[in-house]
């Protein structure tokens, strides 16, 4: 493949991935409003289109045509840069996520992923950790006490839970022996005794790591029960109190895009990625892996929404104590155990 084709293929894949991701973000919001509505015995959106399906479109139009207020007391350069940082970091991390095997389109073999890096997972963690700046700087530059408190809470919470998050992933990395997401998924092919899939969640005690990952990921994405940075009852809206129109929409998009990324990583690392039963015609066998992957991601997104409809919010000291005194020791213990298992087996 020469440089020209490479750039063309990458550009096409990037555009497709962005379109799919942004549509998924819009419809995750719709799904959330619908599901939470039903959990609380309401209907959710019903007016715009059948089942309210055009609601995200209407919301998008509203965000674009609303007046873009910039309060006079903000520090302007960072106030404008903060939502951009948040959304760029949220959207970039999708670039290393593989959604399926290799495909051949018109004689050109290409992986179903924008780029396959051998440090894919590190890139995702790095970009996620840069996303904190969007939130922290929004809080600082808004020059308002609610925003500042929200920003401070967010940065403290994200830094604390990032450690457990990273440590929970290392067990999987030891088992797979690679940072490349594609290789991690390939290591999970096959099954035990012919019927239990050889996914990491069933393997070497990684179910503990799975729950540590899920809990820390909820804290990383500022979702209930860890949504203290934007706790409405105490902080108005937290770090995005002073934001309106499209800038607010950027934070919103970043939150949901991060949810999707987290779900993708959980699927790839713990639930075997695109592996699943294959059957039927050749065309169906090409499509099924992608279908399995999307189904698993959907399940994670649904759990996200389910948890939001079920659990109350933590108190701030509970959140910190839980992260440092429970999750972190558990993650380290899991890491030592996994290392021991791998060492004894080889």
């Amino acid at each position: 493949m020469n440089v020209g084709t490479f750039i063309l293929v990458s550009a096409i894949k990037t555009v497709i991935a962005l379109l799919v991701l942004l549509t998924a973000v819009a419809y995750t919001v719709w799904l959330e409003r619908k599901v939470v509505g039903h959990i609380q015995n309401r209907w959710g959106p019903t007016r715009v289109g059948p089942f309210g399906l055009l609601q995200p479109l209407a919301d998008g139009v509203k965000f674009m045509f609303k007046e873009d207020l910039v309060p006079p007391h903000v520090y302007k350069p960072l106030y404008i840069a903060a939502p951009i940082i948040a959304v760029v970091c949220a959207l970039t991390s999708i670039s290393v996520i593989p959604i399926g095997n290799w495909v051949t389109v018109g004689g050109l073999r290409t992986p179903l992923q924008i780029t396959d890096l051998n440090i894919g997972l590190l890139i995702i963690l790095g970009i996620t950790s840069m996303g904190v700046y969007g939130v922290a700087l929004a809080g600082w530059s808004s020059n308002s006490k609610y925003s500042l408190l929200g920003g401070l809470r967010a940065s403290a919470q994200m830094v604390s839970y990032e450690i457990s998050l990273g440590l929970s992933l290392i067990g999987v990395l030891i088992l797979a022996g690679s940072f490349s997401l594609r290789e991690i998924v390939d290591a999970q092919a096959g099954s035990f005794w012919g019927f239990i899939p050889k996914w990491n969640i069933f393997y070497g005690g990684q179910i503990v790591a799975f729950f540590i990952y899920l809990t820390s990921a909820y804290a990383e994405t500022n979702r209930i029960p860890f949504d203290l940075p934007e706790a409405e009852t105490e902080l108005v809206a937290g770090y995005h109190t002073e934001y309106s129109a499209m800038k607010f929409a950027m934070f919103f998009m970043a939150e949901y895009a991060n949810m999707i990324t987290v779900s993708c990583v959980a699927t790839l690392l713990f639930l075997g990625g695109w592996h699943g039963p294959l059957f039927g015609a050749a065309v169906l066998q090409e499509i099924l892996p992608v279908f399995w992957f999307l189904l698993k991601v959907f399940v994670f997104l649904f759990i996200y929404i389910w948890v939001r409809g079920t659990l109350p919010r933590f108190r701030y000291d509970q959140l910190m104590a839980f992260g440092w005194k429970f999750l972190l020791p558990l993650a380290i213990a899991n890491l030592v155990l996994t290392g021991l298992i791998v060492a004894l087996r080889s």
């Binding site: 440090i119 830094v159 022996g177 690679s178």
Partner: protein, 169 residues
């Protein structure tokens, strides 16, 4: 694929690192300094990538740019900025400054001139795929002692911080 425009990227990243570093010490507002430092650290990660050290680059971003700098920013946000902005930014130790700068400059020039004799010309290329593994083996094999000393130092620092922060232990 072969890497493209390596010379351009090297000078670009180096310039970014230097510009970030200069801004860190010249900006009066500590938040701006912290942001400049983040840019310098990110550009450094890019330089590590160009040296075929993907693991070091990733860890540089996660730990320094993403972890430690967030804590810096966190502390800066908590302190009273107005007072620190009125204070003088540089102290007037001209003589010491000149001596230190000359010494450092002499060191750099020596290395630049005699570098070919000091450093190996060709380093055996480490396979990119097993880069992480190689680093792990090096750290826990060849450099075990240094590594343990570093962790001991960190432990001492942690205990010191706890002792200072807690009134009663």
């Amino acid at each position: 694929m072969q890497p493209v425009a390596t010379t351009f990227f090297f000078y670009f990243l180096a310039a970014l690192t230097l510009a970030g570093g200069v801004l860190v010490i010249t900006r009066k507002n500590p938040v701006h300094s912290a942001l400049a430092l983040i840019i310098a650290l990110l550009a450094q990660a890019g330089l590590y990538l160009m040296l075929y050290a993907p693991f070091v680059a990733g860890v540089q971003i996660i730990l320094y740019a993403g972890g430690i700098m967030v804590l810096f920013l966190f502390v800066i946000m908590l302190v009273n900025l107005e007072r620190s902005q009125r204070e003088e930014q540089f102290n007037k130790q001209w003589l010491l400054g000149i001596i230190a700068a000359t010494a450092l400059g002499a060191l750099f020039i020596t290395i630049f001139v005699r570098g070919r004799a000091i450093f190996p010309v060709h380093i055996a290329a480490v396979a990119e795929e097993s880069n992480t593994q190689e680093i792990g083996l090096m750290l826990y094999g060849n450099y075990m002692f240094t590594f343990e000393i570093a962790s001991l130092l960190l432990l001492v620092a942690i205990i010191g911080a706890v002792v200072m922060a807690k009134k009663r232990i």
